[in-house]
Each structure stands twice: as structure tokens, then as C-alpha cells.
Symmetry: D2
Amino acid sequence: MQLNMKTNEAQDLCFVFSGAGNAKCKVAIVMCRSSSDAGRNRHGQHSMILVPMDTAGVKLIRPLTVFGHDDAIHGGHFEVHFENVRVPASNMILGEGRGFEIAQRRLGPGRLHHCMRAVGLAEQALELLCQRAASRQTFGKNLYQHEVIAHWIAECRLMIEQTRLLTLSAAHALDTLGSRAARKQIAMIKVAAARMASKVVDCAIQVHGGAGVSDDFPLAQMYSYARTLRIADGPDEVHLSTIAILELNDQLKQARARL
Amino acid sequence: MQLNMKTNEAQDLCFVFSGAGNAKCKVAIVMCRSSSDAGRNRHGQHSMILVPMDTAGVKLIRPLTVFGHDDAIHGGHFEVHFENVRVPASNMILGEGRGFEIAQRRLGPGRLHHCMRAVGLAEQALELLCQRAASRQTFGKNLYQHEVIAHWIAECRLMIEQTRLLTLSAAHALDTLGSRAARKQIAMIKVAAARMASKVVDCAIQVHGGAGVSDDFPLAQMYSYARTLRIADGPDEVHLSTIAILELNDQLKQARARL
Amino acid sequence: MQLNMKTNEAQDLCFVFSGAGNAKCKVAIVMCRSSSDAGRNRHGQHSMILVPMDTAGVKLIRPLTVFGHDDAIHGGHFEVHFENVRVPASNMILGEGRGFEIAQRRLGPGRLHHCMRAVGLAEQALELLCQRAASRQTFGKNLYQHEVIAHWIAECRLMIEQTRLLTLSAAHALDTLGSRAARKQIAMIKVAAARMASKVVDCAIQVHGGAGVSDDFPLAQMYSYARTLRIADGPDEVHLSTIAILELNDQLKQARARL
Amino acid sequence: MQLNMKTNEAQDLCFVFSGAGNAKCKVAIVMCRSSSDAGRNRHGQHSMILVPMDTAGVKLIRPLTVFGHDDAIHGGHFEVHFENVRVPASNMILGEGRGFEIAQRRLGPGRLHHCMRAVGLAEQALELLCQRAASRQTFGKNLYQHEVIAHWIAECRLMIEQTRLLTLSAAHALDTLGSRAARKQIAMIKVAAARMASKVVDCAIQVHGGAGVSDDFPLAQMYSYARTLRIADGPDEVHLSTIAILELNDQLKQARARL
């Protein structure tokens, strides 16, 4: 189970957990501020703590839907409240204040994994698009003979290819240089993959017409999933800000090297 | 009740009807080819016919979902088959071969009505966006103080305003010049309104983060609805082709007038 | 003559003037900080001052080009330095600290005028596009019969129409409500018109191919001009920030009115 | 010297040559229809022929500009007419009807070379953008601290990176699989690189304001150059149509392989 999209920060200890409704879910990994010591830097104030779901004070409040679906098959997303929840100090993972360190090490591969799935999903959507374009006619032509649709096919292939290459490049950086050095690559692919998947699925739906939003095809479901990718693991905008800072630093280093 | 998104044209008499599952639904208006007389022009081969739902041969096959929802509250969308359905000749509306004429007269106001609703929906989404941007903080700033989000607010207002004005202009043309003369205006607003609504709701969701795709806000539902607008009443691409032809004709007329 | 795009703020009194190279140019209207009195608000520290070009200390340093052209026909853009320039106090227009007031009153109509010209320019570009699309063939079809080009025609007409309506609406607001109340409308049309003109001219160039960037057509020149509109009279981004603030205020007022 | 953008096809033998005005230009490579034999396929009707510039009947008509510049440093672009020009049969390169074969073999590497230059140009533009963003202030902040500009930096880096990877991938395909097998990759990168360069330079100009369109920076010149890339070597739209056909073929092959 995994800490997820926060929807309410008014109460400090109100979370949304993915999978919390699943009977097999026994333990939550909670990341929270464990120290407000001004002496520590911003990234050293949070810890990850194991919290058994049957600990006193842990309350499942209500399930939350994603585009109207409860994702119950995976256990669903639940609003969970913590009231005076206490666990042994030994439940802290790795050590106090090392929450960000764990997150950073883990999130890189996690994000990349989402990107790989987004590429696969887009490939499937493009395959469906091409099949439809080859099998349906409007105004006396096969759909793929409509130049606008042909160009969508080209644009989709172009987007998928560029994203696939960036995914491979980010994975290579992660494998060979490590999480920290691969941060810019991973932030880039996170943004690119979510956008690309949304756009490819959108084209595929349009080529399918009404059928594309029905459950005769997996496209409607893909559409919702691709949309959540732009929010999940941090909204794209946070990653764009990260890329910008890293780029400015890189430019600065290069400028100095040229002196 | 109303003829709707066709998902299967292999069988000539297989339709998708919106509202067919509603107990109050007693009559279908069917538009179909009533003549293949080569002597008639393309637009004179279709008629509109009243078909009572309890006519022998009318079969409700299955409900269809829209983005996973059955819209059951409105009666749902149903695949309906017609097998050797026969009705009295007097059930034909207005006269044989006048189906397009009816559709054109009726679709103009119908499309405009969808556009008006799209503008209203976008206004509500922008209101939610602004409320969220004013009430939430990230990285020590209110969301609206993030320049990127501020610019989204500006872009949304700009899009809504341009679409509202074009809607009013199309409505004025429809009222004063009639359906035929307003065709270009109506095709334009059909395309513009659907796009605009999709984009504004998309921004509003992004500002809400995970909450935006949950059912705590109406945005997830708006998102699906806005997406269908780009397909309903003819996909945007058909309307763009119409606008192009009308524009080329207008340019030709102006060029001749200048001679 | 008119104060224009600042390219160097290192020296306080280094300006770029449009028209400064014209022999008829006798007087500069300089807007500068005339007071740093902390008691005054930010908008009350600037004044507009008439400076005869032959005043001691006024130096024309060099002409500046715009996309490689010196616009010499209008007098050109000149870097101008002011060193210990002194003029009589009576040269101050309207009164000390009223520079912004003058600018605001004057810039509204000025911006709108640019928008009107942008709409006209786009109309001309679309006319050229349509003529070319109707007179040239590639791959055995007239260009306008290529669906992608037909859709460009439609998109251009749509953009022009939406911008024309917003221009008229902003002009009406300016006439009936005044500069201040029309600020949001004028900021919106400033952004919309520049973008629209850039996009329409870009399409027209693409339809013309190599001829589009040559001087056989006015499109290359229009392209540069349209690009400068996104910078002139304040870059679009400043106007988007203005729209956002005004929109948030309007939303706040409406929210209060509903209470 | 090289056959270039055709601006007038009314006269069969009217060309635009790049470099024709250069004193060193002694020979033109002319690609023209050398046979209209219906027995040959479409791609076997053209040949490449060496035509000395001093052959009787070769006439330099007039120079043509590109965005107002005559590119005279490279010899300029000239409209050239051929009237009853005759050369020995031995001037035909490789053999009759093999013009397309030569073009295809040569255009792949040629296009790729343009893409590599586009990536380099974009890198330079982004460097200038970052320098400007780090050295200028507006509204009391460095430009890079404006979130919108920071996100431009991120988007530019993302676009450049995706294009660089696709360029490398296309070059690898060209080297290892040959021109024919690399066609899809090369068509993709042709489209992607031109767009990317246009967009990055556009952002860099906006960050520079008025200075960006002046000749104090190379950005104005880059802007025109990047725009021509979307036309040169065949307009992007032709390449998108090529990608679509190749993609549909690839999908068909995969579908058959799955049977």
C-alpha cells in the first residue's frame, strides 16, 4: 500500500490511501513530518513509518472514486483519518528524517515504470486507431484516407517514438548514474509520457466516434487513466519547475566551464 | 427521443438511441434512407419516420456506457435493432426525402443549445478553479500566486469570452438570417465550444489535483461530458470541413465582387 | 514619437525610440520615474515629460533592426542616450506622478487599434491562403482539396471570427465604460489578436511553400510584424497576469454577491 | 548548387536555385521529367542532369529573398529560366529515370544533417534564453523566477532532448539499415526538428523582448531560418502523410504476424 494523492490538508492526519479497502491490506507506509527542528533542512524533517491498519485510531472514512470508478478491484482509494495513532519507534524505516531520501530513491524507478506503461498503453491505442481507420468508411473513403486522420496517425507515432526514446534514455541514466543524477531525465519523461498518452488516446477516441467513449473499446478507460497520470506522482507542473532549476544549474556549470 | 451516435453500420438497421431505456420512451424518430433513386440528389434520399417502440421487430439489445456511466437517469443509451419493422406511411414526417431538411432546421438550434450549455459548464469549472486557487497553498504560496496557474485562469477567461461572443453571434445569425445562412457560424461555434469546455475543465482538474478526478467535485463528470461534445452532433472534423467549403465559397464571391 | 521597447536597463537613461531617426522627429515623450518618494504609491512615481530632440545631452547612439529590417521608412528604431538632460518643469505633461494615468488612458485605444490592424492583416493572409489553395495543385489535387489544408482554412476563419468579436466587444466596453472598466477586455484582446495573427499568417506561408517566405507575397513581412505584436505594448505574459488578477477579483465579487 | 523550392510551376522550366548568384557556381544539378512513358512507374520518369550554368538558354531572372534577406553571402536564391537548353546525354547522372533513386539516397542524410543543425541551433537559443533569464529582472524578480518562464525553460529542454534522441535514432537506422528502411524515422525527425527549433527560438525571443527581434542577438535570424525548415526538403505535411502510410503498413504486418 502506498501514500497517495492528498485531497485535504486542513487536518494534518487525513490521507487518501490507494488500496486501503482491500482485505489483504495490513500495513500503511506513512510519510509525515517527524520533526520541525529548524536546525534540520527542509528535506530532513520527514520520516517514513510503518503503521499496521489495525492500530487504534486508524479510521477508514470513505471510498473515493476516480472519474466515477471506485477501482475496487485494487482495493479502492480511501480517505483515512489518523487520530492519536501511536506505533513503536522501531517502525520508522531507515531512520528519522530520511523519508525524502527513501522517496527519492524509490520514486525514480516508480515514475519510470508508469512511463513505460504509458508507452504501452499508447501503442495499444494507436493500434486500435489504425484498425478502425482501416475498417470504417465515411463519405465514401476509408477513414485512414482522410488526410486529417492520416496525419493523426503520423503525429501519434511521432509522439510515441520520442517518448519511448526518452524513457529508454532515462532508464539508462537511472541504471548507470543513479537516482540523483537521473532526476532531470525522470522529471522530463514523467511530463512527456502522461501528455503523450492523453493525446494518443484522445485521437483514438475521436476516430472511433461514439464507440470510442463506450465500453466496447478500452479507450474510455484509458482516457481517464491517462488523465490521472498528469496528476499522480506529483502534478506535471512540479516536475516542470524541477527541470527548470536543474537546467539552469547545468547551463551555469557549462558557462563556467567555458570561462 | 432522438437518433444518436451510430456505433455499428454493418447492419443497416442497428442504431444507438439515447433515452431508449426510459420507461416513458414510447416513440423513436428514425432517420433512414427511404429511397435510393439515383434521380434524387444525395440530400433527398432520407426521411424521418415515427416508430412506436412497441412496434413488432424493434428490439432493445443492450445498454451502452459513456465513459463507464450508463446515464440511466436519462434512460441510458441503447443499442436497438430493427428487424422487418413496418409502420403506416402516415408516420413519415413532413414528406418523403425531407429528412435532411428537418435535420438541418432542427440541428442548428440544437447545436447552439449544446454550445450555450458548454459555456455555462465552463463558467462553473472556472469558478471552481478560482475558488480552489484562492483557498489552497503549495510551496508556501496560494495556488493563484503561482504564475502558471494565474495564466491558466487568464487563458480560461479568454477562451470562455471568445466562445460566448461567437455563440451570441451565431444565435443572432440564426434568429435573423435563418438556419441556412447561419450554417458557417453554427459549425464554428460547435467546434469552438466543445474544445473550449474540454480545455477549461482540464485546467480546473489540474488545479484540484487528486480531488479533481474524485466525486468530491463535478469536474470529473464534466470532463467526460465535454469530451463527448467533440463527437456528438457530428465529430468536429465534419464541421471543420463544412466551414472550409463555406469559407472558400465566400472568398470566391468576394473575389468576384471585387472584379 | 513614442517611448518604446526598452532593451537595456543597466543605464537608467538609455531608451529605444521608434521614429527617432526621422528628420521630422523633433520631440520625445519620455516616461520616467520622477520621484522615489516612498509616500507615493507605485503608480504615482512616474511622469511624462516633453524632451526636444535637440536638447543638450540627447544622443542618438545607433539604429536597431526588427527581424533584420531597419523600418527606416518610419524613421527607424534608435538607441538613444540621455546624459544630464534638463528641460523646463513646464514640459511635464498633466502633472507630476501622472505618467501612468496618461499611459493607461492612451494605451487602451492604442492597443485596440493594433488589434484591429491584426484582424485586417489576418483577413488578408487568409484571402491569400484561399487564393493559393484554389489555384495550385499537388499530388493531383487542388491544395484546398487536401483535407489538412481545408481544416487550416476553417481554423483560421474560426480564430479570426472569435478575435473580431472580442475586438468589437472590447471597443464597445472602452467606448461605453471607459479605459479602466475595459482593462480586462483590452488585455484579453491584446493577447488573442497577436496570437491569432501569427497563427493565420503561419498557415498562409505554409500553403505558399517557398513563395510564402519570398518577397513575391507580403506574408514574410506579415510574419515578422505579427511576431512583434506579442512583445509590443507589453509582452503577452504581462497581460495574462493582469487578466488573472482582474478575473480573481471579479470571481470574489460574485462570490460575495451570492452570500 | 542544388535544386530548391519551386515557386512557379506554370512554366515547366522555371526553377529557384539556391546559390545561383555565387560567382563560383558553374554547374546546376537539374531534376526533371525525362520521360512520360506510361509504361514506367511514377518514380521512374525523372532524371538528374548536369547543366553548366553557361549553357545557352540558361537565364538568371531575378534574386529571391527569404524573409527579406537575399542570403547573398551564399550566392542567394535565383529564379532561373531554361529555354531550349541542350546538354550532352552523358550529362545524365547514374542513368535515365533514376532521379528519384538518387534523391532518396541523398535526401535521407541531407535531411538528417538539417535536423542536427536544428538541434544545435535550439541549444544555442536555449543557452541565450537562460542567460537572459538569469541576468534580467522584471517586477522585482529575475526572469527565471517567473514560473511561466521557468516552465518555458523546462519545455524547451524537454523538446530538445526528445528531438536529439530521435535524431540519433534516425541516424543509427540510416547507418545500419539504409535509406529505405530509415524512411519513417527520417520523415519523423524532419517534422519534429523543424517544429522544435521554431518553438525554442520563439520562447527565447519572448524572454528577450524587443532585443530578441533586434540584431543584438542572433534570435531574429534563427527565427526565420527555423521557419523555412518547415518548408524546405518538402513541407512537413508531405512527410506526415509518408509516416502515416508507413505506419499503417507496419501495423498491417504486425496484425498479420499475430494471426
